[in-house]
Symmetry: C2
Subunit: 348 residues, 2 copies
């Protein structure tokens, strides 16, 4: 405790040091040496290194990241961007976004990256993606959902490598995507309900976004193939919680004939639906079956617990990060389409 400050003035308490040069002055070495010492470079003498590190600790010194990143031309920051393309009122606090974001953040933090959160509204800002990609602020970009911006994303992906997107994979697309087979998922959901003997179904969800459109197509295909007078109506339900609830209420009372089962585009929609049905005195699953999509953690916490089509979000997030890392290092990465999984609980 008494052996580490032999140079500075006696009365100096613990003056805050703001840059390497100052610390170098105190340590009696050059700035370059301090930089190397703090970076644990092997070429600096072990004793000086320790001395400098101790001094840095004592004076509460941290290297200025801005300067460091500028010089090294890498930032250690990954942007997670959420495009609010269609449905601009969808809040960033959407439970699916937040769940995926949480897992991504954990994954990235563990690898020493910082996470920068970006909300993008394409209608208001034409080159939204460019802004993030070319800001010089990030080493890579993870995108949650394609919204209706498929072409814009393709455009950027052609010249910008470190980009991985959660969403659909179309044959021959340029950007690397990780996601679930939405068509199959939609089909599985509908088939499950049909298999339970239900014939009059409704799909709840706005099909402007690619992913949900595919889910709808899957459900349609299942119903068409099934035949036997099965039919599928469609109500576009928006994703913002505020709109959703009312729209579902309206939908439930305005639909044609007696609906037996609802295929919901997301767990959030499914939960809101169950709520509204409860309100209307319709019991789930006795009077109407409801099946969700996503299998968010909260699907297990609803009453009744949600039967849903599971996307493996945790593993998907890990795969996104893995692919991004590969791309940052100059490598390449293929798309990943994960199989959906039917999780049978109590709502259908």
């Amino acid at each position: 405790m008494a052996d580490d400050s032999d140079i500075s003035a006696p009365e100096a308490p613990v003056r805050r040091v703001r840059n390497i040069a100052e610390l170098a002055g105190i340590a009696g070495v050059s700035a370059g040496t301090v930089s190397r010492a703090l970076a644990d470079k092997p070429m600096v003498n072990a004793r000086t290194r320790d001395r400098i590190q101790a001094l840095a600790r004592k004076h509460g010194f941290q290297v200025n990241q801005m300067a460091s990143k500028l010089r090294r031309q890498k930032t250690g920051v990954i942007a997670v961007v959420i495009p609010l393309g269609h449905d601009r009122r969808q809040h960033i606090s959407d439970p699916f976004f937040m769940t995926l974001l949480g897992v991504l953040a954990d994954e990235l933090t563990e690898r020493g990256y910082d996470v920068m959160l970006s909300r993008a509204i394409p209608q208001e800002d034409a080159n939204w993606l460019d802004r993030v990609v070319n800001s010089g602020m990030v080493d890579g970009v993870l995108m949650i959902g394609q919204s209706d911006q498929f072409d814009a994303i393709e455009e950027v992906a052609r010249s910008y490598k470190p980009l991985v997107v959660w969403g659909s994979n179309r044959a021959g697309q340029a950007h690397c995507s990780v996601g679930t087979d939405n068509f199959l998922g939609g089909r599985m959901a509908a088939e499950y309900l049909l298999g339970k003997g239900l014939r009059s179904l409704v799909f709840l969800g706005d099909t402007t976004g690619i992913e949900i459109d595919e889910r709808y197509s899957g459900a349609q295909a299942a119903v068409a193939e099934f035949g036997q007078g099965a039919r599928l109506q469609h109500m576009p339900i928006h994703l913002s919680i505020e709109e959703m609830t009312d729209e579902i209420g309206v939908a439930m009372t305005s639909l044609d004939g007696n609906i037996e089962g609802a295929v919901c585009a997301s767990d959030a929609i499914a939960m809101a639906t169950i709520r509204q049905l409860h309100e209307l005195g319709v019991a789930v699953p006795a009077d109407m079956a409801v099946i969700g999509f996503d299998d968010l953690p909260l699907a297990r916490h609803s009453v009744p617990q949600l039967t849903t089509i599971r996307q493996n979000i945790a593993s998907g997030a890990a795969q996104m990060v893995k692919r991004l890392m590969a791309k940052i290092e100059g490598g390449d990465a293929d798309a990943l389409v994960m199989p959906p999984e039917l999780v049978i609980r109590d709502s259908a």
Copy 2:
């Protein structure tokens, strides 16, 4: 379309420009002028300004943020940090965190700030706050929850201005906090149940964190004052979803006597409790009343809908940001303790 490139070589397509100097070369002006033109400084001729901006667009040029931020000594980035002090297994995807984070992100993005997400684990990294604060990466810090790190936060707050924390306010504390009157909230919850004639209550929540401890104290006070044989047991339930569910199951079967009402430390705990009770064949609220805390959006989506103590998260987030802005501009800001509000729905 044909009037903006009269200097460069004829065959040059749209070469990517990487820095101001290059663009200056193309435009035939100096770097300084380009910088000023792109920043819309009034002192540059309107015609040159437009020409330069057009050129920048055409070549897909964006100023390097790292360099800009270094020079200007401000970053335009706010860190949102989540201390996982006690209860390290609590996931960053905790619904309360995520909800508050979502609103904060919206609020900050609107003001032109970027949001940097930081998960901090004090046990593993002693100077966790210092790392963020002194990295030179952010203009300010918003913290979600105090966890058990009150003293560490105080320490930093004494010398670091732009810091605002969601959490409790103790008399004379140095850091600026925004939060709810947790003691009063806990008291209101218990009083409400007592008022319904329930006498045997349990508080579900781990009191290591300050906020929850205060809620518990409030509930205790209410029960003590009420007298008449009312009593309050306590089960520490952790905040991570995985642990929570099992612990609640155990709690419900191991408690002393016939419990009539549960005061939960959070909505997440309340929902998990309702689930477990449902499993055990205990009807809510008929057999047992359950009251939550927070009033997260999902409180309205549970079945039965949650009766809960509302924290005004949206307004709280706005206030946090407002105070942070004031501090960044060198001003000062007082703490805010918001009154909790009893929201009566169906679970109690």
